[in-house]
């Protein structure tokens, strides 16, 4: 798994709960004030940046280490798996089926110009398994699940429920964060696998019904050029995306401050940072798997 703490730097800073205040427009002494503001702002931004990176890294390390140390909470884990896996199926299914359909249409238009229409099935299956399945599912789940996690954990923070857990001798990291992280890492690949099948089926529907491909040869073309690595890389991506979604949801929620407004900020930051991290890590994993 790529280090999830090294990439987030840019996003985390922009998503920091307390961004450095903007410098006031200086009307007084240009020389001293201007220099002071400039240095102070740079300094503040750099400090806030490293502070956020540090806090997120510590949170990540703590969360991961709690994943492997008992006690475990199987009931919570099961609940989260159902919530993340089962209830995200419609969203992921809809996203991928239409992506597969549009992919077939568009690539047909393109390949027809080279009389290479036969490549449509291959392009659909490779694009879906390698890229569109995991990325679109990841982004949809970031909106659906990441937001819900940040809101739930954040509300528990500002209403002292997390403190209450601690006083009941239950580690909130183990009870709240670990089940969400593990469930997301396990369920995202399952979702993406289902999404892959549905997306390819979407392409098949268009290919056979609208573009007049022969059903058997479309399926043949789909299978022949599909490699295990295409699917596996997509599933690895899914697991990493699941980790990032749950991590940002929990991290932002866990550090919520100040009532309903604070929770709102956490939810927004969780979705934005998870989405950006998904896109960045998508590039990095692709590079790892396929760059020569």
């Amino acid at each position: 798994m790529p280090d999830p703490t090294s990439s987030p730097t840019l996003t985390v800073d922009s998503a920091a709960p307390n961004p450095a205040p903007n410098p006031a427009p200086n009307e007084a002494s240009n020389e001293t004030l201007g220099r002071f503001n400039f240095l102070a702002v740079i300094g503040r931004i750099i400090l806030a940046f490293f502070q956020q990176v540090g806090r997120l890294s510590m949170f990540t390390a703590s969360a991961v280490s709690h994943c492997v140390r008992p006690p475990f909470f199987p009931r919570q884990l099961l609940g989260q798996m159902v919530e993340i896996g089962y209830y995200s199926l419609p969203v992921v299914g809809l996203t991928t089926i239409f992506s597969g359909m549009v992919l077939a249409l568009q690539s047909y238009t393109g390949f027809a110009r080279f009389s290479a229409e036969g490549a449509v099935a291959t392009v659909v299956v490779i694009s879906i398994t390698r890229e569109l399945g995991p990325v679109l599912a990841g982004l949809m789940v970031a909106g659906r699940v990441g937001a819900a996690m940040a809101a739930e954990v954040g509300t528990m923070r500002v209403t002292e429920q997390i403190d209450a857990l601690t006083t009941l001798s239950t580690n909130p990291m183990k009870y709240l964060v670990v089940p969400r992280l593990v469930a997301a890492c396990l369920m995202l690949p399952c979702l993406v696998l289902v999404g892959d099948v549905i997306g390819v089926y979407g392409g098949y529907l268009i290919g056979v019904n609208k573009l007049d491909f022969n059903a058997a040869s479309y399926i043949q073309n789909t299978w022949d050029y599909l490699e295990t690595l295409d699917v596996v890389s997509g599933l690895v991506k899914a697991a990493v995306f699941g980790f990032l979604i749950a991590l940002m949801g929990c991290y932002m929620g866990y550090n919520s401050r100040g009532g309903a407004q604070g929770v709102g900020v956490s939810v927004r930051n969780a979705v934005v940072s998870a989405s950006i991290l998904i896109l960045i890590s998508n590039y990095m994993i692709t590079e790892l798997f396929f760059a020569q």
């Binding site: 403190d163 001798s169 239950t170």
Partner: protein, 258 residues
């Protein structure tokens, strides 16, 4: 003080948030089976004091001992072990809204004591009855209860696993006078009969006199007066006098702004 070592001992505890000094050197000892009440205006740091003892906040300086063991800066595991001695009623009740009422009350029993769910449910219903709630609320969600009922569920949760030390953060705030007195009686019963040690917070003087053996007054980050509960009405301390008699003028000036 007393011959036996104190159950809880705070000395020189300081805590500040940013530039705002909230606790400026708190010294307090609570003997076994004793009930101490901290009184003081809102925002003086009463809740912060409890949270320091519970390890939810880390004091900037000073020492906190529970049964003679230093608890400031404990690791996760040791803190969990210490916290099994504690029961805490939060000011806002802080019930888990994803669980039902009985699961809330039984939380410590199921997670901490590994009690079977069926047995824990029976125990929870028993504790609910003690705080005047019927078995019919057991399967409701906390959000379906009134504020006063939530407070009582919080109380039931705090005493569910018969802790040695119980913290009550404003147990009677927001309750009607009769229910407040029921809760007071219940706290007295817990402390006197079960033999628990209690550290409570309130700004309800009647409640403080009823549940406390001793009363301490927090003002400007310090305990400015500690004495037997019976003497709080004629303490001779002008600050305490003003507070217990609820007078607007006196040495305590409300910081009014705007």
């Amino acid at each position: 003080m007393s011959a036996s070592p104190p159950k809880i001992a705070l000395s020189g505890v300081k805590k500040r948030f940013g530039r705002k000094v909230v606790l400026d050197g708190i010294d307090l000892e609570v003997a076994p089976r004793e009930s101490v009440v901290i009184i003081g205006g809102s925002g003086t740091g009463k809740s912060v004091t409890l949270k320091c003892v519970l390890g939810l906040l880390k004091p900037d300086a000073g020492s906190i001992k529970v049964d003679g063991e230093e608890v400031v800066g404990l690791g996760d595991r040791a803190r969990e072990r210490i916290n099994t001695k504690f029961g805490m009623l939060f000011q806002s009740a802080a019930l888990f809204d994803s669980l039902t009422v009985w699961e809330n009350v039984a939380f410590g029993l199921i997670q901490g004591h590994k009690m079977a769910r069926r047995k824990a449910r029976e125990k929870a219903i028993e504790k609910l009855a003690q705080v005047g709630l019927g078995a019919d609320v057991a399967d409701l969600s906390p959000s379906e209860l009134s504020g006063g009922m939530q407070k009582r569920v919080g109380l039931a949760r705090a005493i569910a696993d018969d802790p040695e030390i119980i913290f009550f953060d404003e147990p009677t705030t927001g309750l009607d006078p009769i229910m407040a007195d029921v809760i007071n009686d219940l706290i007295v019963k817990c402390v006197k009969e079960v033999g628990a040690t209690a550290l409570s917070i309130t700004h309800d003087i009647a409640s403080a006199r009823k549940i406390g053996d001793r009363i301490a007054m927090l003002y400007h980050g310090k305990l400015i007066w500690v004495g037997p509960a019976a003497t709080v009405l004629d303490s001779g301390n002008p600050y305490v006098d003003q507070f217990v008699h609820g007078r607007a003028d006196g040495p305590i000036q409300m910081e009014l702004r705007g």
